[in-house]
Structures are given as structure tokens and as C-alpha cells.
């Protein structure tokens, strides 16, 4: 079922349609929030806040087929509001907690190493320039095609390809990989 069909069904009171929209879009909304904030803590709460705001104002969506870019726009604004409120020193959203990245609580030696490696990798991803980390996060959070990514970000598939390539290249350089340094011009 397309997003537009789900939106129409949800507005007619279909419980299943709301659920499908939430489950379909939560990874993408979380990717947008994670990319905007550049950090993983608070992202879960802001994702929830964004989805709730979208569902509350679903009836105001004039073009149901644009649900995706619309909900991602809401997520962007929720994050900007949150960043602004943090700069002012107050945190407005009710449910924010001091949650840490969702690493499992008890881990043995090898697992700790693996988690530290993941932590390092994620921290480098978070330091990428916004357009690059946004496309990389959307891709890895939800395995989207270039066409779907282009639709969400309103750019061409070629731009998606270029940004993903550059993001991967930057990550390799920052994480100390030496591949690609001596290639043919």
C-alpha cells in the first residue's frame, strides 16, 4: 500500500494504517533526527515526538502522496526547535530522558571491543558534513534505494550516489584506511 493510500485510510479511522505509517517511517524519521543532531542520545525521543506531531496534524496534509518529505520536514523542525531550546538552556519536550546509545548492558571482552569499534565508527559518521551524514544515515537506517532517498531529500539519484561515495571516502580516510591513495588519475 502506498503512503497516500495509508494516509487516506488513517484519516477515515483505520488503526492499521496509522500503525503501518509509523512502522514504515520510524527508521527514516530517526535517521533525519540523528543526522540533524549529530548524536545518538535523545534521538529516540525526538523521533517519537516527530511522529506524534505528524499524526496529530495528518488531516492538514494537503497532498497525501508527499507524506514522506512532509514527516521528514516535521522531524527537521522538531530537531531545530530542540537545538534552539537547548541553547536557551531549557528542554521543552516532555519525554526527554538521559538515555545513552542502546548498547546492551552486560558484555564480555570481545563484545566490548566490538561495541567500542561501532561507537568509534558511529562517532565518525556523526562528524560528517550534514548532507553526507543525512544520506548515509537514511541509507543504512532503512536500506532505501537511490530513488527513495532522492524523494525524501528532494535531490537526484546521481546526487545521492555522489554523496554516498564521498561519505564513504571521508569515513575511510578518517578511520585510517589507506586504500585509494595511489590510484590512477
Amino acid at each position: 500500500m502506498t503512503d497516500a493510500q495509508l494516509v487516506r485510510e488513517a484519516l477515515q479511522g483505520g488503526d492499521g494504517a496509522y500503525e503501518q505509517l509509523v512502522r514504515r517511517w520510524s527508521p527514516r524519521v530517526m535517521a533525519v533526527c540523528h543526522a540533524r543532531l549529530g548524536r545518538a542520545d535523545c534521538v529516540e525521543d525526538l523521533t517519537q515526538e516527530s511522529l506524534l506531531r505528524a499524526l496529530r496534524s495528518l488531516a492538514s496534509l494537503s497532498e497525501p502522496e508527499k507524506f514522506g518529505p512532509w514527516v521528514c520536514g516535521i522531524a527537521t523542525r522538531v530537531c531545530l526547535d530542540w537545538l534552539k531550546s537547548r541553547r536557551r538552556g531549557d528542554v521543552e519536550f516532555s519525554a526527554l530522558s538521559d538515555q545513552q546509545p542502546s548498547w546492551p548492558a552486560k558484555e564480555s571482552g570481545n563484545d566490548v571491543d566490538r561495541l567500542e569499534e561501532i561507537d568509534r565508527l558511529m562517532s565518525e559518521v556523526e562528524k560528517l558534513p550534514l548532507p553526507h551524514r543525512e544520506v548515509l544515515m537514511l541509507y543504512y537506517y532503512d536500506d532505501l534505494t537511490y530513488a527513495q532517498l532522492g524523494e525524501v531529500l528532494n535531490v537526484s539519484a546521481a546526487t545521492i550516489n555522489a554523496r554516498l561515495t564521498q561519505a564513504r571516502q571521508m569515513l575511510r580516510q578518517r578511520l585510517g584506511a589507506t586504500q585509494g591513495d595511489h590510484r590512477q588519475p
Binding site: 509509523v22 488531516a59 575511510r172 590512477q184
Partner: protein
């Protein structure tokens, strides 16, 4: 094509976005370019690590979805059955504060309705002022 352009193709191949022609073209280059072979291997390794890292993040997204769904009954109670045509015209994403903004058309109508009142007030003010100065 240079190696940088082939890197775009390597990235697209990793993401399952290459056409058979592009795939053949890339393969022919890889057979003769050791540096791009190294990049391809590094990319695949990095992709695996990224997928592993984001697997944990996906579970966080599933958790956010679940929490949102528990709030769903409260939202559904607040969604009105019908909306005025003006409300439905609100641009996508334009309303996120939970209240319905006055549309520009409505605002223009309100201002237009008040213009004669304001002008009338100004006219009477001017007449009174003029009368006052003429008298004294």
C-alpha cells in the same frame, strides 16, 4: 573515466544500483586497476561494519515506533472528523504546534474589514482637531 568516477560506480554496485552495462564496464576496469580493486575491498568491508553499527540503531527506531503506537489512542481522540476547506489547504508541514493557524486569506479578510473603521476614525480625529484650532 578516471578512478574517482569508477568509485561512484563501486558505491552504486554496493547499493545494488548498477545497470548490467555499468557493471560490465566497471568489471573491465577492475581487472586492470589494482588501486580500484583495493578501494572495492575496503568499501565492502566498511559497508559490513556500517550495517552492523546501524543494526543497533534500527532496534532503537523500532522502539520509537512502538512507543508512538502506544500514544495512538490519545491522538485519535483529538483528530476531528471533518476539517474546513481552509484547514485542508494548509501547506504540508506548515502546522506542527497543535493549533490551526489563520490562513493568509482569512487574515487579509479581517484586515480588509477593519480598513473603513480606521479611516473613519482618522477623519473624525482630523475634523475635531481642525474645529479645535479654529475655535481657539
Amino acid at each position: 573515466m578516471n578512478c574517482q568516477q569508477y568509485e561512484n560506480l563501486l558505491s552504486a554496485r554496493l547499493d545494488g544500483e548498477l545497470s548490467p552495462e555499468e557493471e560490465a564496464h566497471l568489471q573491465a576496469h577492475l581487472e586492470s586497476c589494482v588501486a580500484c580493486q583495493a578501494v572495492a575491498a575496503a568499501m565492502e568491508e566498511q559497508d559490513e561494519r556500517l550495517r552492523g553499527a546501524f543494526r543497533l540503531r534500527r532496534s532503537a527506531a523500532a522502539s520509537a515506533a512502538q512507543k508512538t503506537l502506544t500514544e495512538l489512542p490519545k491522538i485519535k481522540l483529538k483528530v476531528p472528523d471533518t476539517f474546513s476547506s481552509e484547514s485542508q489547504k494548509i501547506q504540508a508541514g506548515g502546522e506542527i504546534k497543535g493549533s490551526f493557524p489563520v490562513s493568509s486569506k482569512q487574515a487579509a479578510g479581517q484586515i480588509k474589514g477593519r480598513v473603513p473603521l480606521v479611516l473613519n476614525g482618522c477623519l473624525w480625529g482630523w475634523r475635531l482637531q481642525r474645529g479645535f484650532w479654529l475655535r481657539y
